[in-house]
């Protein structure tokens, strides 16, 4: 680069630096951010509770705070939606950092409900037998204590419980709320970290099988950090390309409506390499979160190792948030790049659908099985994402809503089936469950059928919606692949049903714990949503349709 260019760079930089001096004070629309703010606030309160409330009251205090917060936040979301922020008054708030529009509100609502249901499973304390007269939940008595050590014994004896999980949950939720509504890459990244870090911790907190739990946490953490590093670098490159991290600006630059401000950059950054590489890296980070092949490999291990309530919450909410962000990124920032990323996403979707379904066939652990099924589902959702039509958006929204409740419900059922070593997650132990406790088996069968996409369950409606969108978006081959992998997937869902109903129960088989109303509610809600969305989905489809438009 010539000296003059360098010179010009300096000078232009100087001139460009002018306006920086007069920054006007930021303007924050608290009302429109209220859902997030409520949750964050509650989380902080939670921390304070940990600090100041005596141990024996903490559980109830935390539970109370969290429930109230989540409910209030959901109410706020509904209020905003009622206020038309989802449709007509959709806008960008907080100095362009946060978008308040249909998809954001819909997804926030979904996440909040999922979190609420998940919270119930977190708070469940009837499944494990009482130790030393204390009710215990699925979380380690004292995370810091070494498994099997005296300190652990002491902690258990003292009846400690890790009530920190509640604030952690809330923080994670807060991050998830921001994630899909982030309107610049920085916010995106921060949200990503905000909801990832608590999840890393939650994974490590299992009461039983702690080694596996810690291992899961380590894997999740390292790989997650690795992925977010990629994301960050991608962000850097995009910033380099557009000179801004705001979605709107980047989009305009991509479309070429705004010429790159200075010619000096123009001749270095003239090519779109930065854009493409950057975009690819960000997308990769998001695909990691949704667990798409080949970025899925953490999923089975983490799902298996993490405490089951956490798994359920994570599987449901993370997917919702991540897909929300992915949608916004692809539809708002990179629509101009459609012809570049669509084929690539095709490939990802196909390998994800097939990979998830095929590998799941030979799984022997119910949690890993569900993990792989979640991978396959990620593939189906991707098919909807690829449609790049308003229908595509709404179908994905609907699918996410349907899927998250089925997932939480399914994992909640998994927490019920226990033997001496805690949850009996090995499939062989599930043999003949239908004979021992038909109701639980029947409920689980309903969830499995929903996963398999049998008509009259929400799974079918969702699958139909995304496939329809995909087909209309001209991705018929994807639909065919999707159908094939559904067939493969059906095989292992059926296998579990066969196992539960038609095969011999083991004499030393697991017992089915009688849960408290908390888990019951969680499961009941799951079943209800599954059936309602299966039989009469129209209302929710309308909702998703109204919410199908992004604000730019």
């Amino acid at each position: 680069m010539s000296a003059s260019a360098v010179h010009s760079l300096w000078t232009t930089a100087a001139t460009a630096a002018e306006p920086i001096s007069k920054i006007d004070s930021p303007k924050i629309e608290y009302g429109q951010l209220s859902p997030t703010l409520i949750v964050v606030g509650a989380a902080i309160i939670g921390v304070l509770v940990e600090a100041f409330v005596p141990r024996k009251h903490r559980y109830y205090a935390q539970l109370f705070v969290s429930v109230v917060a989540l409910t209030a936040a959901f109410a706020a979301v509904v209020a905003l939606a009622q206020g038309g922020y989802g449709t007509t008054k959709a806008r960008i708030a907080a100095m362009g950092a946060i978008a308040v529009d249909g998809p954001a509100l819909f997804l926030q609502g979904t996440i909040l409900l999922a979190a609420l249901v998940g919270l119930f499973t977190f708070a469940e304390r009837r499944l494990d037998p009482e130790v030393h007269g204390n009710r215990v939940d699925s979380f380690a008595a004292q995370a810091a204590s070494v498994p099997g050590s005296d300190s652990e014994q002491a902690a258990v004896k003292a009846g400690f419980t890790t009530t920190e999980v509640f604030p952690l949950l809330l923080f994670a939720v807060a991050g998830m709320l921001v994630f899909p509504s982030a309107n610049d890459l920085l916010t995106l990244f921060i949200a990503l970290e905000v909801f990832s870090l608590p999840l890393y911790l939650l994974c490590a907190l299992a009461r039983r099988k702690r080694l596996m739990s810690q291992e899961a946490a380590v894997k999740y953490f390292l790989l997650g950090a690795f992925a977010s590093a990629f994301t960050l670098f991608g962000i850097a490159l995009l910033y380099g390309y557009a000179g801004s991290v705001s979605y709107g600006t980047i989009a305009q630059v991509v479309d070429g409506t705004v010429q790159n401000v200075n010619p000096a950059l123009a001749d270095t950054m003239g090519n779109d390499a930065l854009l493409l590489v950057g975009a690819a890296m960000i997308v990769m980070g998001l695909l990691f979160k949704v667990g798409a092949v080949p970025f899925h490999m953490w999923t089975p291990d983490v799902y298996q190792g993490a405490p089951t309530p956490v798994t359920g919450f994570m599987a449901a909410a993370t997917k919702v948030a991540a897909f929300g962000a992915l949608l916004r990124l692809l539809y708002v920032v990179l629509p101009g790049l459609r012809w570049d990323w669509r084929p690539v996403m095709w490939g990802v979707a196909i390998v994800t659908m097939l990979g998830g379904a095929i590998v799941a066939i030979t799984q022997t652990d119910i949690k890993r099985l569900l993990a792989y099924s979640s991978i396959a589902h990620a593939g189906f959702i991707l098919a909807g994402v690829i449609a790049t039509t308003p229908d595509g958006v709404s179908s994905v929204l609907f699918y996410l809503a349907a899927y998250s409740f089925v997932t939480i419900g399914a994992f909640a059922v998994v927490t019920l089936v226990r033997d001496a070593g805690g949850e009996a997650t090995h499939l062989s132990k599930w043999a003949g469950l239908g004979r021992r406790s038909p109701l639980v088996a029947a409920v689980f069968a309903v969830f499995l059928l929903a996963f398999a996409g049998i008509p009259l369950t929400s799974g079918f409606a969702g699958k139909f919606a995304v496939f329809k969108a995909a087909a209309e978006g001209g991705a018929a081959p994807l639909v065919v692949v999707g159908v094939i992998s559904s067939a493969i997937a059906a095989f292992f869902y059926i296998r579990v049903i066969v196992l539960m109903f038609f095969s011999e129960p083991r004499p030393e088989g697991p017992t089915v714990a009688v849960p408290s109303p908390l888990t019951m509610t969680a499961i009941a809600v799951g079943v209800a949503v599954t059936l309602v969305l299966g039989v009469a989905p129209q209302y929710f489809l309308d909702l998703a349709n109204q919410a199908g438009v992004f604000v730019r």
Partner: protein
């Protein structure tokens, strides 16, 4: 009057229903109910007959339309009946002989605890047979056609505890089914060719010709050949004759009624009824005559070698029907005589079978003629009636068989040309052989020394005359066998009676009727003489001698069954067995194979998930690289 036609069928049908549904409580009276209803049907027949006679020859066709059966688009099948001279003849034969045999069975089946059901089946048969001859369209005829098949199946297998009987019954039904293919295809052809398969429009009624003639000769030939196939099945003509011999497993009255007098002649009825079609297809007619000729020799030869009296008679039935088919194949020259021989044959063959039954009745159901001998002393009535039947069948001058068979032979020559000579020759030869084997039967059964011995349990059979209920029918039939032929032929009564339906033409015979008659006489004498030389002069060995190759072949039905067994049965078994294998391994295997391979793939892909975080990272890194590369590539292309 028309409405009686339905009753004709209804009576025995009612009988069948009552007897079969009625259950044990009817055991006591069942047989009388059956007999009564069949004779009621006979009475109706007579009434209708007199009615027909009262009309003039041209409008002797009554039709009765009951209801529309299968109306689908252009496909219109009705349940309707047509009674003309042809069907009238059959009605009388069936109900008449049928009633007699009912009567006979009362005695014959006396000791069978399932007698009620036997009569039920007999009535069922009558109903089906009447439906067959009275139907006004081919589809309804098909119903009767299979109905008689069913009845014959039930009756042949009546003694189901005998595996041989069950097998024979099944065989009969199956072989008939093969024939039925012909009938159904023929009906389809008619439908596609003419858009109808009803007699009226097709074959013509009240004088004006039907549309049968309008079709191309090729089509007509096809239809005719299919009908012939059907006829072969039902009338045990080569190549579908194999079932008749085994059918003798059934009780003797059954053999008399179904497998001698009536059902087996249905094929002849079919051909004569379809005259309008056959007339339009000379090639087909030639085939018919050939089949007839071959069968008449085949049956006769088989009949010569059998020691089982019923099997011998069965062979003769086969060959007599061969005559009829031959005649029917000759076209207008022969139709009338075919039917005439059919009727006379109905009389004497039924008589012969009843006689045979009577003999078995007296001999503890022994059927091997080599264990008979000199029975004339013990059962005189049987001897006389049987003897008259014998004379009739060999064509002894003045008796029924003489007239009818003679006419057929004449007609065969009258066909003209070389085939005329060949057919006539066959017919003559047949007559000779007939004389031979019937004489053989006669001699082995009623003459010579008594050859029966105590059976396994040491029961010495005490040959005795049968009860009256059995002898009376035999006597009546004997009358028929003696006088029917003469009665028909004097003044060509039968010819004039039937002509309006079948039409008739005198072929120009190369040889005068007289010559033919003389020739017949000569061969007759020769046949009888040879038989007498073999069985009359020297005693009959109790154990059959090995005999010449021809004899052995004839004993085995000229290896025809062996052929069926090897080719059809064995081959079929192998085919099905291999197909079962294919279905299990191949068709099913493909599916299971795919499932297995997917499973295997899954197992292999699983390995990738090796639990090492770093390898996961590698896959992520690689994935990212691919992602980036792909994106750039997309832009490049």
């Amino acid at each position: 009057m028309e409405n009686l036609i339905a009753l004709l069928i209804a009576a025995p049908l009612l009988g069948a229903a009552v007897l079969l549904v009625g259950g044990r409580r009817l055991d006591a009276v069942g047989h009388w109910i059956g007999t009564l209803l069949s004779s009621v049907s006979f009475v109706f027949g007579v009434i209708l007959f007199s009615d027909l006679l009262s009309r003039d020859a041209e409008d002797r066709t009554l039709t009765q339309h009951l209801f529309s059966w299968i109306p689908v688009g252009g496909f219109q099948a009705d349940v309707a009946f047509r009674l003309d001279q042809l069907s009238m003849t059959f009605v009388l034969l069936i109900t008449g002989v049928g009633s007699l045999i009912h009567l006979y069975s009362v005695g014959y089946m006396e000791h069978d605890e399932r007698r009620r059901r036997f009569f039920g089946y007999l009535n069922l048969f009558l109903a089906a047979m009447l439906l067959l001859v009275l139907a006004d369209n081919y589809l309804l005829l098909y119903v009767g056609w299979e109905g008689v098949g069913l009845a014959s199946y039930l009756l042949i297998g009546f003694w189901q505890h005998k595996p041989s009987a069950a097998t024979a019954a099944k065989k009969a039904f199956l072989v008939n089914r093969v024939g039925d293919i012909g009938l159904s295809i023929a009906i389809m052809l008619m439908f596609t060719t003419f858009g109808t398969f009803a007699f009226g429009p097709l074959l013509g009624a009240e004088g004006e010709p039907g549309i049968a003639g309008d079709a191309s000769e090729g089509r007509l030939t096809a239809i005719a050949l299919m009908l012939l196939l059907a006829a072969c099945g039902k009338s045990a003509q080569v190549p579908l004759q194999s079932w008749l011999g085994d059918a003798m497993e059934g009780p003797t009255p059954v053999s008399a009624l179904i497998h001698a007098a009536t059902m087996v002649t249905a094929g002849v009825y079919l051909i004569v009824r379809s005259a309008a079609i056959f007339n339009g297809a000379p090639d087909a007619q030639l085939v018919v005559t050939v089949v007839g000729a071959v069968t008449l020799l085949f049956g006769a030869i088989v009949g010569c070698a059998k020691d089982d009296i019923k099997k011998a008679l069965a062979g003769s039935t086969m060959s007599q029907i061969g005559y009829m088919v031959l005649a029917a194949g000759l076209g207008p020259i022969g139709y009338v005589f075919a039917i005439m021989h059919l009727v006379t044959h109905g009389f004497f063959k039924a008589g012969l079978f009843l006689g045979a039954g009577s003999v078995m009745h007296g001999m503890n159901d022994e059927v091997d003629m080599r264990k008979y001998g000199g029975l004339r002393k013990y059962m005189p009535i049987t001897f006389v009636t049987f003897g008259l039947g014998y004379l009739a069948i060999i064509g002894f001058p003045g008796l029924s068989g003489f007239f009818s068979k003679d006419k057929i032979i004449e007609a065969a020559f009258a066909k003209g040309g070389t085939e005329g000579w060949i057919l006539g020759g066959c017919a003559l030869l047949g007559a000779a052989i007939t004389a031979y084997y019937m004489t053989r039967v006669m001699l082995m059964t009623f003459f010579g020394e008594k050859r029966w011995q105590p059976d396994a349990e040491g029961h010495e059979p005490h040959p005795h005359e049968s009860p009256r209920s059995m002898t009376i029918p035999m006597i009546v039939l004997a009358f028929g066998s003696v006088f029917a032929g003469g009665f028909f032929s004097i003044g060509d009564r039968f010819l004039h009676w039937l002509e309006p339906v079948t039409g008739h033409s005198h072929g120009d015979s190369p040889v005068s009727a007289l010559t033919v008659t003389l020739a017949t006489m000569v061969v007759l004498v020769v046949g009888v003489a040879i038989a007498y030389a073999q069985y009359g002069r020297r005693p009959v060995p109790i154990v059959a001698p090995r005999g010449s190759l021809l004899t052995r072949a004839a004993r085995r039905d000229l290896f025809q069954d062996d052929f069926n067994h090897v080719v059809l049965v064995r081959g079929g078994e192998h085919l099905t067995r291999s197909l079962v294998y294919v279905d299990h391994t191949l068709v099913d295997g493909v599916v299971n194979g795919t499932a297995a391979s997917v499973g295997g793939l899954s197992g292999r892909l699983r390995r990738v998930q090796n639990g090492f975080a770093r390898s996961y990272a590698v896959s992520m890194f690689g994935g990212a690289a691919v992602l980036i590369a792909a994106t750039l590539l997309m832009r490049a292309v």
